[in-house]
Amino acid sequence: MKLSLSRDAHRQAHLRYRLFQQISHFITVYFDPRSADLLPIKSNFRVQLFEDPAIDKEVEIRKKVLKIYNKRELDFSTLKEYNDYLEQVEDIVFNLTNNVDVERTKQIMEQYQRDNKDVIQRNKAKLTREQEELEELLLQEQQNSEQRRLETLQEEQRQLQAKRKNKQALLDELESSKLPAAVLLAQHKDRAAQLETQIEKQKQNVKPANIFSTGIMMPLFIDTYGPPVPELDQLGRLGYLNHVRTASPQDHAGGYTSGLACHRALQDAFSGLFPS
């Protein structure tokens, strides 16, 4: 936009100024004498994450404030003190977001930073340590699953090779041996069946390795207000399953077992039985 004396240019410049005034909430501008124009200070640009730019601004301010005000609940002796501290933080964020008392708020922040330098340092260190531990666990999980994948691949390869060898052996024998073909075929079938059972056994020995990197550490206890229900896997042994309709092959294919219905009926029968 060039400075000129025309009325239109004046009006345009004025409109641009008004526009920048409105959005100065988010963009700070300065007058660039070289291009005779209002230019934004680019260091203030961020990638907009949220639909409402006001929220983005608040999120940014909050991140900065929380870097300084990083105390945790266990740093306080009473809940009230912790809540007061949190309220303090919120006030600061609010002031900065809505341009209220910005100078005074900044001074308060600097004062706090000076007073609590060591606490801030300590908490920062703790945070990074926790994050590292989490990352380690995640990495390990990843590695484990990757390893398992490779192992299953290798196993499959081995099985394929074994089958191929078997077939080749049969062909060789048919060629060279003096025994009748029927006998050789029967022998071959036998060997193949043995191999299959071996493979099945190996599959069942796969160890279920599950490291929970997050989750509940201690067993949950839920009061059912009634007598204890036997575990799902004990039902067959205890004889309950003799009195339930057996699951048809179609049911089994769908994942249904008679134990499920039996367990559910028992749970329902015992839940809430004893008057409280």
Binding site: L266, L273, P275
Partner: protein, 319 residues
Amino acid sequence: MYHNSSQKKYWTYDKEEDLDKLRLEANRKFCSKGLSSGKPGINESMFLNQQEEKVLFRHYEKRLLDFCTMFKPVMPKSVVGTACMYFRRFYLNNSLMEYHPRTIMLTCAYLSCKVDEFNVSSTQFVGNLQESQAGQERALEQILEYELLLIQQLNFHLVVHNPYRPLEGFLIDLKTRYPLLENPEMLRKSAEDFLNRAAMTDAGLLFSPSQIALTAVLNSAARAGLKMEAYLTECMGLKEDKETLSKMYESMRRMTGLIKAYELPKAEEVNTCKQKLERIHAEFATNLKRKHGYEDDDHVVKRQMVAEEEWTDEDLDAL
């Protein structure tokens, strides 16, 4: 499961008196609202008192059960149980004079089919009413209007635990762990009958479904002259716990008492109460569409204030 359900937390009460208090409160609320409405010719005597509401409630509850029994396709027991429970819970906090039980009972059945995943289309549902095509459509409209109200008055607690599965559980348990009883299957018929009768009392609002099922089993065994105390002491491990045992016997006594005390209301009583009800509804009919700001707010509802119900009880009589 029942032990951490909303039914246990919010819809199980300690004493029958608590229930009666709630119903009385609902009745009073409507009466005072009606009296203060400023309409001419309203007096205290034209309202239903608590006893009359009870009579009508039992009548319509029986209607609901009949509707569900005649329903095509066959309605599973849990759906019927849920519908009855909804009906009962709704009129715990609302008066029959405010919302007509005829529509509410159909809405309960409709909602229960949805909640219990008993897939019936709306046209199929109203096809079970003995009505003309137009009558069925009108009924459907009313059901859909009242549906949200029903859900709201149930406080959005839609899962109901019925005693039918616990009964199955007890029969399985008896067959497995209680050899003293030779053939538990023979208890089934009369236990189920007990459960059906229990559904028509307040038992569902006072006791847990497992307690109701256990009472059914013990009751039916007692009728057959069989002794079953050992089941509770040995199998349930209550030999040492005399306190719980006696509390359980007490609950079972109360429950059997409730069921024995039930009686179907007499036809003349029902008719007099019904006439009163119709008059009240004609006088105070609430146009739900306008009240709840349904759909298009600028749609002018041209219905008469005296909402003449176009289908009457007689249509249901044919059921």
